[in-house]
Structure formats: C-alpha cells, structure tokens
C-alpha cells in the first residue's frame, strides 16, 4: 500500500514538474514551431502533437539540461515528420530553409526576454486604432481575407496597414534595445 502511495506521489511530482517546465517554455516552443511552419493553423496542430510527444519522452529528459532546447529539438523532428506526412506541395518552404531557421533559432539570445518586455511597452505607445488592428488580427486564427471582410476594407489595404504597424513595432523594439545597450 505504501509502495502504491509512493509511486502515485512520485508520478504526481513528475507531472507537476513537466507542466511547470512546459509552461515556462511554451512561448519558446511555439515560436520555434511557427518559425519552421509559418502558419498559425499548422503550428497550433503541431504544438499539440509536440506536447504529447514531449510527455511520452519525458522519461528520457535529463533534468540538468535546458528543457526548452530539448523541447525545441523534439519540435524540429515533429516538423520533419509532418513534412514527410503532408508530402510535396508548392506552398512548402525548402528543407534548406528549415535547417537554416532551426539552426539560428536554437541560438537562444538573452535578448529574447527583453525584446518581449520591450514589445509590451511599444504596444502601449501605439494609437488606439493601430492597437485595435493588432488585437483584431491576432486574437483569433481567421484569415486576413475574412478579417478584411468583417472590417469592410480591402485585403490589400489591411495587409499594408498591418505591415506598417508591425514595422513600427519592430523599429520601436530595436530602438529600446539600442538604448539599453548604451546604458
């Protein structure tokens, strides 16, 4: 009876630890998948499958190593398997692209956390109209064509507007990073 209790307790601890590590690295894994498969819908499906695989292979994880890096490696193999399964199509990015991006994405930068923090500050600096545009376009996975129809504007103007706002947000983040370096 004691043994059963001890096993149950140990399994609970393992589950809690896994959930904690996955939550801490959620954005990193999601970004990694999205970089390799730049499409919200496919990346969402792959994230769910990756989470299941991570749990299945959690026994192999070395707790002294970086969980995020381990999870991103498994995510990479999930993408490779997904590409094999989905076959060839014209919309597909090349294997060279996947390898280049995967290699670069694994180089974790200390700046990533700061960039994220800077982005929150830059969002607050946007005009209400632009902030609402971002909110509308990123709060659900509707295509931009559908969003443009909902907003009663042309798809081309929505692309331009969104591109302009993203450009200004990125410039703002870069500026904040430059300022931080000068400190």
């Amino acid at each position: 009876m004691d043994n059963i209790d001890r096993d149950t307790n140990s399994n609970d601890q393992k589950t809690i630890e896994f959930i904690r590590l996955l939550s801490q690295n959620e954005n990193r894994v999601k970004s990694h998948l999205l970089a390799l498969v730049p499409n919200w819908s496919d990346a969402d499906d792959l994230y769910q499958e990756t989470c299941v695989r991570l749990w299945e292979q959690y026994a192999d994880y070395d707790p002294t190593k970086d969980f995020g890096a381990w999870a991103c490696t498994i995510a990479y193999y999930m993408v490779i398997a997904y590409r094999k399964k989905s076959g060839r199509d014209k919309q597909r990015l090349s294997q060279a692209f996947i390898n280049t991006v995967a290699g670069k994405a694994m180089e974790t930068s200390e700046e990533t956390e700061f960039r994220n923090h800077a982005l929150q500050g830059c969002l607050e600096k946007l005009t209400v109209r632009n902030r609402e545009l971002i909110r509308h376009c990123y709060s659900c996975t509707n295509t931009l064509k559908e969003i443009a129809e909902q907003m009663g504007r042309s798809i081309a103007s929505l692309y331009k507007a969104l591109s302009r706002v993203r450009h200004s947000l990125h410039d703002c983040v870069e500026k904040k990073i430059q300022e931080e370096r000068l400190k």
Partner: protein, 172 residues
C-alpha cells in the same frame, strides 16, 4: 545579436511575407521569395525570426486582452444597471408607502362631509400619486427587460466572435 534598423531596411518585404504566411494566404511566388531571402542572408533570417517571435507574443497579448473585453464588459454593464435598478426600486417602494399613508389618513378622517371639497382634492392627488408610482413600476419592468436583452445580446456577440474564430481556424 541584433542589428540596427538600417540593416533591415532592405528586407521590408519580409513583413508582408510573414503576415501572408501566418494567415495561410501566401502565394507560391511569395513562398519562393521568403525561402530565398531567409536562406541567402543571415540578416534576413534574423529579422524573420524576430518577427515570428513578435507574432507569438502579439497573439498571446491579443488573446489575453480579448478575453478581458469579452468577459468583463457584460459583467460591468450588468453590475451598473443592476445598481440603477436597485435605486429605482427603492424610489418606487417609497412612493407606494407615501401613497398608502396619505390614503389611510384621508379615510380615517372623522368629519368627511365638512371637508368634502378638500377631500375630493385629496382623492385626486392620491390617485395622481398612485398613477405616478405605477408608471415608475412600469418603467422599472421595462428597464429590467432591456437590461436582460442587452446582457443576452452581449453574450451572443461573444459567442459569435468565438464561433468566428473557431470557424476560421477550421476553414484555414
């Protein structure tokens, strides 16, 4: 390692390519262009990764604020309206009590005949107050119905938004 903004100026088309790709509306030509840009220039690759990470953060932010908008507005609205209705109820009940007291004083009067004209005046006034109280109660009922309708409509809007999102996801 990051570069200054000027280092990315040559790659401004990456913004539109990333947006099109995430939305699932990228054309084969655009795929080829994105592929070439990212594979051939490390600066383009770095910008691409930064934009993807920013997109993930923006989505997390947008989802969080969206939940706030959908869930909080109906409850705030409902709370304020309930408070208004509460005060209106107090006013209506107070009006009825005043009417009752005035009416009781009038009917308990001992010398009805000598005060006939003034009593008739009082009857008319009491009836007017009663009618006023009734109209306040009617208004109260109407407001309560409107309140329920607004809360229901906001709830339906939230459902429609959620359905649009899931429908869009399925479609894409």
């Amino acid at each position: 390692m990051s570069h200054s903004n000027s280092n990315y100026e040559d790659f401004s088309e990456i913004y539109e390519l990333v947006i099109a790709s995430l939305s699932g509306e990228i054309t084969p030509d655009q795929v080829a262009k994105l592929d070439k840009l990212v594979c051939n220039d490390p600066r383009a690759c770095e910008l691409y990764l930064q934009l993807i990470r920013e997109s993930t953060s923006l989505r997390t932010w947008a989802s969080g604020t969206r939940e706030e908008t959908v869930n909080d507005i109906p409850s705030r609205s409902h709370s304020n309206r309930s408070q208004t209705l509460w005060w209106r109820s107090i006013v209506a009940v107070a009006s009825l009590i005043v009417c009752f007291l005035v009416g009781r004083n009038f009917f308990s009067s001992t010398d009805q005949s000598s005060n006939m004209s003034s009593n008739q005046q009082l009857i008319l006034e009491t009836k007017a107050v009663m009618a006023e109280a009734r109209s306040v109660l009617d208004l109260l009922d109407q407001l309560e119905q409107e309140n329920d309708t607004i809360v229901m409509l906001i709830g339906e809007d939230a459902d429609v938004d959620a359905n649009n999102c899931s429908a869009g996801k399925e479609a894409s």
